[in-house]
């Protein structure tokens, strides 16, 4: 086999090499943009989300005289799946008469606190923490009042963002 070893001039070869390297870099760089955006999606957008839950139409709570228990559905989005769970909350009014949604979980050690209608107080059955109708702590071991939840109103519907809070501390600290 006859093989021609007549290389093109050296500078032409290196010019071509540089051209190839540049071209490959351009195409590689262009293609890596979507790859990087794809991999960094969790940094660009939230992939976990707690959806606000409906408590009911606002009108239902207009003439509230004492706290009412509502079971809400909580939708926790986790990437491509969602977990639906239920929680009990109280709809009540604060001292100025504005609607207030309280978590039914005792801030002391996490028992579910019932409303005792006769006494017009929340009384925790586990360690007898007592709270007023607006959730203020009255007596017992709890270091703070019952935890209020963030609410919004959309199309006449009361929505609440359910959260868990750290127990046994004086200040309300959401758990993340």
């Amino acid at each position: 086999m006859s093989e021609s070893r007549a290389d093109p001039p050296h500078n032409r070869r290196s010019f071509l090499a540089a051209l190839l390297a540049l071209g490959s870099l351009c195409i590689g760089g262009l293609l890596s943009v979507p790859l990087i955006r794809f991999a960094l999606f969790p940094l660009l957008r939230p992939t976990t989300e707690l959806k606000p839950s409906s408590v009911g139409p606002l009108g239902a709570f207009a003439s509230l005289t004492e706290p009412v228990l509502r079971t809400i559905q909580i939708e926790q989005v986790d990437g491509w799946r969602k977990v639906v769970s239920e929680q009990d909350v109280y709809v009540t009014k604060d001292s100025r008469g504005a609607l207030l949604v309280l978590s039914s979980i005792c801030p002391h050690l996490g028992c579910i606190v019932p409303w005792v209608g006769d006494k017009r107080q929340f009384v925790c059955p586990c360690h007898v923490s007592v709270f007023a109708a607006d959730g203020r702590a009255i007596s017992g071991p709890s270091l703070r009042g019952m935890d209020s939840l963030d609410t919004t109103v959309r199309d006449g519907e009361l929505l609440v963002r359910f959260q868990y809070f750290r127990q046994l501390v004086a200040r309300k600290e959401p758990m993340t």
Binding site: L31, F41, G79, R81
Partner: protein, 474 residues
């Protein structure tokens, strides 16, 4: 810099490797006809990169596959683009493999002690088709599910072992989550591993035999002035690669691949159609039924495969010029005309059968409708405790069974959420009383019938249960 380079080279010998790769002699000089091999290598590389990326979000199970692909397509940034690039890349692999094979065949480049090179190429062709077949199922939408159901049931036509083989491939008698696992393992681990090994063997064998050169030469001893692979052939190869990548990228950007509604095995009306490269085989299988099917499904395809693989052993002549090889060229034209003809015939038959055409149009509309819906996360199974509370009523629970038994969920969606094919049933109690619903089951309106709603005639008890279930949907 040059000191570092010299050091790395002393330790690795990279420079020699690069030189031996680039200084491959090409008898007769560089040609655009020789570019397909490296083109394939680069699309394969792109398939690996996009495939690995897709695996970041994909989950191979009947429960999650469709949701995760919908998530990639509708939610993840650049997800639709990468999935489209991977999907179009699969089609491009098939096209370029065919071009590579055709070039080798027409140029007679399988001659001259290149039997193993040719055979390894044929097996690689089969593996590329295997990648396309296994990958097609993974999104687990309607078209993927039904095309693979047809594809795997064709295997059962093979005498004696057919039924067992189908069961082995599917991981059971019916298609299900085990089928996805099997196809996923084949698509992601097994076939790629074999492809890596065979590509290495193919390149090694190619370098051992050397390039065959123009058709006028003896492939076993091509005596003509040679040109080195670098730079002209490299430039030609890379220009095809750049063209392919830019073309595929533009296609993925402008015409993203769609995803249909999730696979629903209960949908008896669905008309399955494979991806375009399997249409000829699909059409071919239509002509073989009963006892004769052995001939069409097994004997003729096997004979064709054996004939192609054994080609370099059968055709020992030195002659490579196509115009001096009428039998070889005639056979090539015949096979290509058959393949293209079968594919076109399948398209033609679909377009001229009004029933099929309208069902295909309906499926297409359902797919477009599904693509317009925003991504909806799948309800995790750990949520069922909460949702099942509503089913605590035994009448409602029975109603749900009746609902499923009549495949109402096929069109109205799981839990009556509605699909592209039929409206949601949630909140329907506000519109119709239970008695009106019962009447609609027995006598659907003309509009409902036109939409595909069958007459449901459940017994009185079943009817009550189903109405209780539908009334309770929220």
């Amino acid at each position: 810099m040059s000191g570092l380079r010299a050091w790395v080279n002393r330790r690795t010998g990279l420079d020699d490797l690069l030189r031996s790769a680039l200084d491959e002699p090409i008898p007769g000089g560089a040609r655009f006809a020789y570019v397909f091999g490296s083109g394939l290598l680069f699309i394969f590389l792109s398939q690996i990169i996009t495939g690995v990326a897709l695996a970041l979000y994909y989950v191979p199970s009947a429960e999650n596959a469709h949701t995760t692909v919908a998530y990639i397509t509708k939610a993840v940034t650049a997800g639709s683009f990468l999935r489209s690039l991977h999907s179009y890349g699969a089609s491009a692999m098939v096209v370029v493999v065919l071009l590579h094979l055709s070039q080798t065949y027409i140029w007679g480049a399988y001659k001259g002690r290149r039997e193993l090179l040719w055979i390894s190429g044929c097996v690689l062709f089969g593996l590329v088709l295997g990648m396309a077949f296994t990958g097609y199922l993974l999104p687990w939408d309607q078209k993927a599910y039904f095309a693979t159901a047809v594809g795997t049931s064709a295997i059962s036509e093979i005498p004696w072992i057919g039924a067992s083989l189908t069961r082995f491939v599917r991981g059971g008698t019916a298609m299900g989550t085990l089928t996805i696992s099997r196809f996923f393992v084949a698509h992601v681990f097994l076939i790629p591993a074999v492809i890596f090994a065979l590509v290495a063997a193919h390149v090694l064998l190619f370098r051992k035999a050397g390039a065959a050169g123009p058709v006028s030469l003896d492939a076993g001893d091509p005596k003509q002035k040679t040109e080195l692979f670098y730079p002209r052939q490299v430039l030609m190869d890379l220009s095809l690669t750049a063209l392919l990548l830019i073309g595929l990228g533009a296609l993925a950007l402008l015409v993203p691949v769609s995803l249909g509604p999730a696979a629903d095995p209960a949908n008896a009306q669905y008309v399955p159609r494979p991806d375009w490269y399997y249409l000829p085989i699909f059409e071919w299988l239509k002509y073989w039924h009963g006892a004769a099917s052995v001939i069409g499904v097994l004997i003729i395809p096997m004979a064709l495969v054996i004939a192609i693989m054994a080609l370099p052993f059968m055709d020992r002549r030195i002659e490579r010029r196509p115009w001096k090889r009428p039998v070889a060229m005639g056979a090539y034209v015949f096979v290509i005309v058959m393949i293209v003809g079968l594919g076109l015939r399948s398209k033609y038959a679909d377009e001229h059968d009004p029933g099929v055409a309208s069902q295909l149009a309906k499926q297409d509309a359902a797919e477009k409708g599904y693509m317009r819906e925003p991504f909806e996360p799948a309800l995790s199974s750990s949520s069922l405790a909460a949702v099942n509370v509503a089913l605590a009523d035994p009448l409602v629970a029975k109603g749900e069974k009746v609902f499923r038994a009549h495949s109402c969920n096929a069109c109205h969606g799981e839990g009556g959420v509605g699909t592209a094919a039929a409206p949601a049933l949630i909140g329907i109690s506000a519109t119709f009383t239970p008695d009106q619903l019962a009447a609609l089951f027995a006598h659907p309106t003309a509009k409902m019938i036109a939409g595909g709603m069958p007459r449901v005639d459940p017994s009185l008890d079943d009817s009550k249960a189903m109405i209780a279930y539908i009334e309770g949907l929220k």
